[in-house]
């Protein structure tokens, strides 16, 4: 339905092609989170890979930073309808994490867990093949606490709630188990190009 009197913003063709439906470009970097910002010292930080309840690999901050580092420039899309173009991240690809853990992915599903109790489900296929990383730098600087530092998951081709802040574990699960927002009305998968914002979209 056309809204009476609404003309909309003009956007250039390049930007328009890169914007999933219903999104608009922001130049700032909005902060959204369900609770207070946890403050995690890199001295206390660890990252674990689990298969079900079993820890199969673990890194402290120094060990993690000694893993192969990769840079990635991507557009990111928040379910609240903002998109930020050309964001530069640096961190460890999930491929390299699994390689360092010498782990053949045991299941097709994973949950990312965070220090604040947050979790989100992402299929293995969306984490591997160079698609996703655990990012420790944004725009060349350490990821700030508000944006999920010391480290956040980055799965840029899905809505940004999948890119869990303050991430501390990746857990393989037998089934596609729902995470925090997925249990609270948000879409199981979250593809911005198919506008999978909410359950059953």
């Amino acid at each position: 339905m056309v809204t009476r009197g609404f003309t909309g913003r003009q956007s250039n063709a390049d930007t328009a092609n890169r914007l999933p439906p219903g999104q608009h470009v922001v130049s700032n970097f909005p902060v959204l989170s369900a609770g207070p910002t946890p403050r995690i010292s890199t001295e206390d930080w660890t990252f674990k890979v689990k298969v079900g309840p079993r820890v199969v690999a673990s890194w402290n901050w120094a060990e993690f930073n000694a893993l192969p580092q990769t840079k990635m420039t991507r557009d990111i899309h928040c379910v609240t309808a903002w998109s930020k173009l050309n964001t530069l991240w640096e961190g460890v690809l999930i491929d390299d994490l699994l390689g360092a853990a010498d782990l053949a992915p045991p299941t097709a599903f994973a949950l990312a867990h965070s220090y604040d109790g947050y979790s989100t489900n992402v299929p293995l296929a969306d984490l591997t093949g160079g698609k996703a990383m655990v990012a420790t730098k944004f725009a060349g600087q350490p990821v700030t606490a508000e944006h999920g530092g010391p480290a956040r998951l980055l799965v840029p081709h899905l809505y940004f709630w999948k890119s869990a802040k303050w991430v501390n574990a990746l857990q393989f699960t037998e089934r596609d188990e729902l995470g925090f927002w997925e249990l609270r009305g948000y879409h199981r998968y979250g593809d911005p190009w198919r506008e999978q914002r909410y359950k059953n979209d």
Binding site: V2, T3, C78
Partner: protein, 239 residues
Amino acid sequence: MHWQNATITRIEKLSPRVKSFFFRLPEPIAFRPGQHVLVRLTAPHGYRAQRSYSIASAPGKAQALELAIERLDDGEVSPFMHDSAQVGDEIELRGPIGGHFNWSPEDGGPVLFIGGGAGVVPFMSMLRHRAAIASQVPATLVFSARLREDLLFFDELSRLAAPDDGFRLVVTLTREAAAHSFRAGRIDAAFISGTVTGTKMPLRQVLICGSNPFVETVAKATIAAGIDATLIKTERYGV
């Protein structure tokens, strides 16, 4: 949950920057206090813009759905709503959205709500619902605004606090001197401690809503006041 063409039945100015829009929906939506709805605008050439806004009204099918919308000067949807939308216009709405930042009396108390400016909106839904069902669950609202004129819903909140039924209103102004029952200054740990002193039972939940800097500051202050971080839920505005 689908898009509906909702009709604006009334527009009311609440403060210099906030107006309430009342909608009649073809199919009323069932929601929990604290949830929001999406507002979608479509231009003739197909361009669309959508934003989510917290519901200010209490649940109940008989009621008009009220959205209190702050005008953001560099915004896209809020300037249209403030400057162009009129009573009788149809606007596309979808909801309810958000299964986290909710509170109803059955969730128990005491509960502490802390709202900055338009961040008070979801608490209006919660407090109106609490009053509508005559709940006596202890609830405190700390409402921080810049100036007296930014205290949207102040008269109604004062009325809700009048019966001494367990709801307490604490107002602080950050750019105006303390006067009448208003305090002055920003919320810090001492402010939070002072506010929760005298609460007979431990707090069950703290809900904080406002701009990101407001929420960040207040959440830190709340934790510094000795309140367990796991009790705190936040909602951050201003995208």
